[in-house]
């Protein structure tokens, strides 16, 4: 098995077995979405109107919360130094770790979306639209969040700083994700344009994220 495949398998195994697993992210997603009707009021029509936005905000915050486990545990026990010194380029190793993180933490959020859509009075078509945009957008959140996680890896109290660094970079993903969902549900606007931009953001982050994260790790580890 190639080195990258082994790295991904290791990360997925750790994510699913250790520390509540990545399902803790889904639990946080559920909690946030359940909190919203308490704040906004139980009016079903209002919740249906706000539904895509609330789901996107919940997914954004849930993926932000699970980001620090991307590098922190490996940094603490020294594996990150070994990964950085290995023959595989650090950029590819970061990409593999981010992909494993998305598979273990991002995909469960998308699987949980239909259930949460029920809580927010969204119908099947609306929930599918939101799930599709989340599928296209959560990789962007993971790969750009990886940059912040790499910058904050050496800091002991880096959690809040990580959020402050990552959120401005995630705002375009949020904007286009909600725009695409709204267009699919109510829309006079087109679904294709914001969805294409969302896919473009994800694809760009696949390239920029690993390079920036590797540069930060190299400079942060020495």
């Amino acid at each position: 098995m190639s080195a990258l495949g082994a790295l991904m398998t290791r990360d997925i195994r750790i994510a699913t077995r250790v520390g509540g697993g990545a399902l803790i992210g889904v639990l946080f997603f559920l909690t946030v979405v359940v909190l919203m009707p308490f704040a906004v009021g139980p009016d079903l029509k209002l919740l249906a109107r706000l539904g895509p936005a609330l789901l996107w905000l919940g997914a954004l915050l849930a993926s932000l919360l699970t980001l620090d486990r991307l590098f922190m545990a490996d940094h603490d026990d020294g594996s990150l130094d070994l990964i950085a010194m290995a023959r595989t380029p650090l950029e590819l190793a970061c990409a593999a770790k981010a992909l494993a993180h998305w598979l273990s933490a991002g995909l469960p959020l998308i699987v949980a979306t239909p259930v949460l859509g029920l809580l927010l009075n969204l119908d099947m078509a609306a929930t599918s639209a939101v799930a599709l945009t989340l599928l296209a957008g959560t990789p962007a959140l993971t790969f750009t969040g990886m940059i912040g996680a790499a910058l904050a890896v050496a800091l002991r109290r880096g959690g809040l700083l990580l959020a402050v660094l990552v959120l401005p970079l995630s705002i375009p993903v949020l904007i286009f994700g909600v725009a695409a969902s709204e267009a699919a549900i109510t829309g006079p606007g087109s679904f294709g344009a914001p969805f294409a931009i969302l896919c473009a953001l994800s694809l760009t982050s696949f390239v920029v994220g690993p390079f920036a994260a590797a540069a930060s790790l190299r400079h942060g580890l020495d």
């Binding site: 904050a152 800091l155 970079l169």
Partner: protein, 243 residues
């Protein structure tokens, strides 16, 4: 003296010590000329005297983006060429750029109230400049989060280069989206559309604000170099006490 001599902090301090009085004088002179020209400029036929906020708002907005570009160049200096003063330049520029962005947002907001009827609108230009302001603050937080300045420099350099993507987004936001903020009037294909009576004071104020940035930046760089020397001395002293 060649450019590489400036990499020596002591020579840099000596050179800037000689330059500072001239820079301060030039800045004050250009502000005096600029403000006099602004006062003498005619009222707009639609906006009246309120149009003169433009002479403060627009240079601040231009400089908020210019400072991030300067920091990006400094970031390249840190990462690529390992220039010794590049990270000093980047750290010193961040609070100044954040202040210019804040002033651009506030003066724009005050201008928007009488003109648009609202202090704020979530259109593309205002939102992207607000994101720029948040990124400035995040960058300043990152500088202060890492204890060792040279390690903080490399992390901040990566973040600065990643954030540079926001600059073309801000510039072209009024073209790509349907915005409340007006489209470009000066830096556009086909030349400026502003009348001479407004364009000249605007450009004079822009040069004045740029000189203000250069003066403040060099002063801040001097302070940062001295601050690092104090830190080294304190660490040396603590080491000697322990030994």
């Amino acid at each position: 003296m060649t450019l590489i001599d400036l990499a020596n902090p002591t020579k840099f301090l000596a050179l800037t010590a000689r330059l500072m009085p001239w820079l301060v004088a030039a800045t004050a002179l250009l502000f005096a000329i600029g403000l006099f020209q602004c006062a003498a400029a005619p009222d707009d036929y639609q906006q009246g005297a309120t149009v003169k906020i433009m002479f403060i708002h627009v240079p601040n907005a231009w400089l908020s983006m210019f400072v991030w570009a300067v920091m990006s160049a400094a970031a390249l200096g840190t990462l690529v060429w390992r220039h010794p003063l590049a990270d000093v330049a980047a750290k010193a520029a961040a609070p100044i750029g954040a202040s210019f962005t804040f002033l651009a947002l506030v003066t724009g907001s005050l201008w928007g109230r009488p003109m648009w009827g609202t202090y704020w609108q979530w259109d593309a230009r205002l939102t992207s400049v607000l994101i720029l302001f948040l990124m400035y603050l995040g960058l300043m937080a990152l500088w202060r989060a890492v204890e060792d300045p040279s390690r903080a420099a490399r992390a901040a350099a990566v973040l600065t280069l990643v954030g540079a993507i926001n600059l073309p987004i801000i510039k072209f936001s009024v073209d790509w989206w349907n915005t409340l903020h007006q489209p470009a009037s000066v830096f556009r294909v086909g030349g400026p559309t502003l009348d001479r009576a407004f364009l000249i004071p605007l450009l004079v104020m822009a040069v004045a604000f740029t000189l203000l940035f250069v003066t403040l930046h060099l002063a801040a760089m001097r302070n940062e170099i001295l601050r690092r020397r104090v830190r080294s001395l304190q660490m040396l002293q603590a080491g000697q006490k322990a030994a």
